[in-house]
């Protein structure tokens, strides 16, 4: 069987040792029907991204008769995977000294849910912990024992993962704009994530505070009014602790539901 493959020179979808970076996963596309491995959905999504990472609609368009839960799950895995790249970029610049709290606008301080008692981790720790926690959850044998069919109760977990990892985008956008712009221009990841979250109702539109052209641009104007410089921001949020919107408290509640 494998003999046949080799002899007939069927291109194997395989990165052999010594492959050049430009040849990585450089094999002919395959239709989703022909993918027969256990991980065909991941394969399909990654193939779509390789094809054109800016073609969000194509990437998010599920094949026929695709189980929606699994589709959402695999996409979320892919988001977490690609966010590792953004994290690498942030690690250089987003230091505990400059970003001592996970914030986007001054409205919220996000508490890190990776700990037994959610706490105010510096932004970079929040980012790392959230991604680590998400990777563990998405690989958990308890909640996601199979990548072919997923329990309804486990699907419900995806929403909170989405909410948390979105804060990485929003932090990058509001505090490390050059990094965000460079990364977004290359990967279109935030755009894809925003469309994804809206399409599957994983995050309320009001909470999607990173303006994406053509998706939630109307928010831009509102946000621009609220956005304030990074330096004054943390002081403000502390002062605002008791003010009617009561950001800290609400954020705590929102987080501790995890």
């Amino acid at each position: 069987m494998s003999d046949l493959q080799v002899n007939t020179k069927l291109p194997l979808r395989r990165n052999r040792p010594g492959s050049k970076a430009k040849d990585w996963c450089h094999w002919p596309e395959e239709t989703s029907e022909n993918m027969d491995s256990l991980y065909h959905i991941q394969q399909y999504i990654q193939q779509s991204i390789r094809r054109d990472s800016s073609d969000i609609d194509f990437i998010l368009k599920a094949p026929d008769q695709q189980d929606e839960g699994v589709w959402k799950y695999e996409h979320l895995r892919q988001f977490c995977l690609e966010l590792n790249d953004l994290t690498v970029l942030l690690q250089k610049e987003c230091l505990p000294e400059t970003c001592s709290q996970m914030t986007a606008t001054e409205q919220w301080i996000f508490l890190c849910a990776a700990h037994k008692n959610p706490k105010e981790c510096p932004a970079i720790d929040y980012t790392r912990h959230t991604l680590d926690g998400a990777a563990s959850l998405l690989n958990s044998n308890k909640y996601f024992p199979s990548r072919i069919s997923i329990k309804e109760t486990s699907i419900a977990k995806l929403g909170s993962v989405c909410r948390r990892i979105y804060r990485i985008f929003s932090h990058a956008y509001y505090h490390h704009r050059p990094i965000y712009d460079e990364f977004e221009g290359r990967t279109h990841l935030c755009r894809r994530f925003t469309v994804f979250a809206l399409r599957y109702g994983l995050i309320p539109k009001d909470n999607l505070i990173v303006p994406i052209h053509g998706v939630n641009q109307d928010i831009t104007t509102i946000m621009q009014q609220q956005t304030s410089p990074v330096k004054t921001h943390s002081n403000q949020s502390l002062k605002n602790g008791d003010s009617p919107p009561s950001p800290t408290v609400t954020a705590t509640q929102a987080e501790s539901d995890a």
Partner: protein, 750 residues
Amino acid sequence: MDGSETQISYQTDSQAAASAMANVDAQRPLYTVPGILHFLQHEWTRFEIERQQWETERAEFQARIAFLQGERQGQENLKNALVRRIKMLEYALKQERLKFNKLKYGSENAPVEDHKSTSNDAPHYDDDENKDGANLGYGDNSVSFKQGRQLLRQYLKEIGYVDTIIDIRSTAVKKLLGIKSETNFNASNNNNNNNNNNISLNGDIKPSNESKRIIPNIVKNATSDLSKSVLASLVFLKEDQPDEDSSDDDIDSSRIMIKSNNGNTTNHNSGLDTLNDLDGEEVALHEFDFLSGESAASSNVNQMKPNENNSADWDVDQSRLNRLKEEYKRERYGKQHQHHTSNSSSIRNNLFDNGNDDTSSDPRAFSTDEQINRGMVDTIMFRNSKNFMGDNAMDGLDELARVTVLNDNEPQDDTTATDSSDFRKTWNVKYVLRSHLDGIHCVTFHPVESVVITGSEDRTLKLWNLEKAAVLRKSASTTQDLEPIYTFRRHTGPVLCVAMNPSGEQFYSGGLDSIISVWNIPNSDVDPYDAYDSNVLCKVLEGHTDAVWQLAISGQKLLSCSSDGSVRLWDSNLSQSLQSTFTNDGIPLSIDWIMQDTNQFVATYDSLKTMIFDAETGKVVTQLANDNSTADANYRVNRVISHPSQPIIITAHDDKKIRYFDSNSGRMIHSMVAHLETVTALAIDPQQTCLLSGSHDRSIRLWNFETKNCIQEFTAHQKKDDESIHDVAFHLSKPYMASVGADSIAKIYA
């Protein structure tokens, strides 16, 4: 929670209603708005209360259902356990009766008859077991039996066992069982009485006592625990009982056995060989053990029937037996300790004395059975006092379940023990490491600690502490999930290779992003959610201009090969990033240091050449012979490793083969088709006795290094695209081995 929502909606409704009512008010002064509101509120509250009540009731019923179901399950299991017990006792009795017959005849009377009866009896036992009540066997030799029983009766008279007692007892039994009186019965009862007396009187012989002591408890349980449905079904079965001579017989005898054992403690009966008796018991228990295994497996209906009969019979006799039970309990508390110690030793002794040619007889099986025995006795004894059947049953079952688990494990332990004595360890998956989001390309162990590092296409490397997991979750399951204790992020593309510094303080990783990262290994107790420590990333070695595909380290000398066509040697203190570059025609695919001479390394190229370089001079020392004259592209080597102590180089090829070369001469020593697909990974265990290989055919295989035979094979990883296993590794000092694959999973074997 529901209520509050309802309330809110109600309030808005009521406001609307109120405004509507304003018009009506004028015409009907009796209805005031507050009055209506009050009424509505009142009604709503009433409904709410009722709803709560219903909810509570429902919850109660659900709990009740769950409880009853659990109870039923428990009783079912207990019933099966009892079947085993009763079968065992039946057989033991038969054997003892047989022995007794033999002895009696042997010492007093016609040896011919004796021979006949014994030889006939044994096979017929089996008949009874299998055919359940088909009375063929007893019919054949009933004459000799009658004679024997008469003799026994006479003997009993002699020793002062009055006939009337026996008669009274047997008639009582028969009344209960609804059987016409029959002389044979009396005789058999006599038999049993004597036999048991002998045993019970002898202080050393405990097994029979033990088993007997179970009876009252079993009886107690059977009577109180077995559900009515079972009993109802027994009514029908009872009607057939006159035919089931043998089983009735047994019931009789066992009941009387209890009685006699209890009541006649002053009775003296000498001249019996105690060892012999024990042998009988021994064989009986054994046979039983064997049978019960079968019956449990096939849930033999035949075997169930007599048991059900038994329980019904016990039920009838409850009051009496309860009394007996009390007596036994008292007796037991006095003897308990003594029993346990003397039991096992005497049984084992007998087992060996026996010289039993029964192949199924092994001490392990037996002792397990005994454990069950004890477990049963203990739990039932203690729980009985509570008289709470659900609890009782379940606890007893717990005990049983535990024993069964032990039993299951034992054969495994045995095999591993024997295997290790052969220097042939059987590997099993111990941990499944899931946390990577995409295929894992490389794995390495810490040289000393139980720590693993994996590198994945998801751009991260993860650090796993196997020991931490073992402490955190001591689950009974064979494979455990554990979380990584640290995630290394620096690569912006798939991580392709990793190498551990022999000091265990640092490791290196190379990726598609053409960088080599140097990492300080965090403490193995690090909390995965600690603050980010930027010192973990020691430095980044830049120099390669394309994917770094493999790293090799020897001492402090780090070697890397990249698809940019170069092999680079990095300075030992890594301060000056680049020491020397080796280029040849083609792209280096894999490299390794020649272990016994650390100034040489082997590199294999996509031009199908494999050669040994001198790292100092940069010159080619030897070129390995290529047995593939046609230059078939499938000859391509995916991994090359050098034997740590012998001048042997091993290569893993695309053409499914593993080849062995002599590194001095460059000649090929051996070639073998090792897998069904491209061989991707190789590793040699620290004892240098076996070779581990991985392939895209999803399997990893262990090979005996000397004989080149496959020792063990695992289907380890699933395929993603056409890739499966990317890397395998051995721990240098601990019995761990690892495999990683495109399915994002790493497996640790131990």
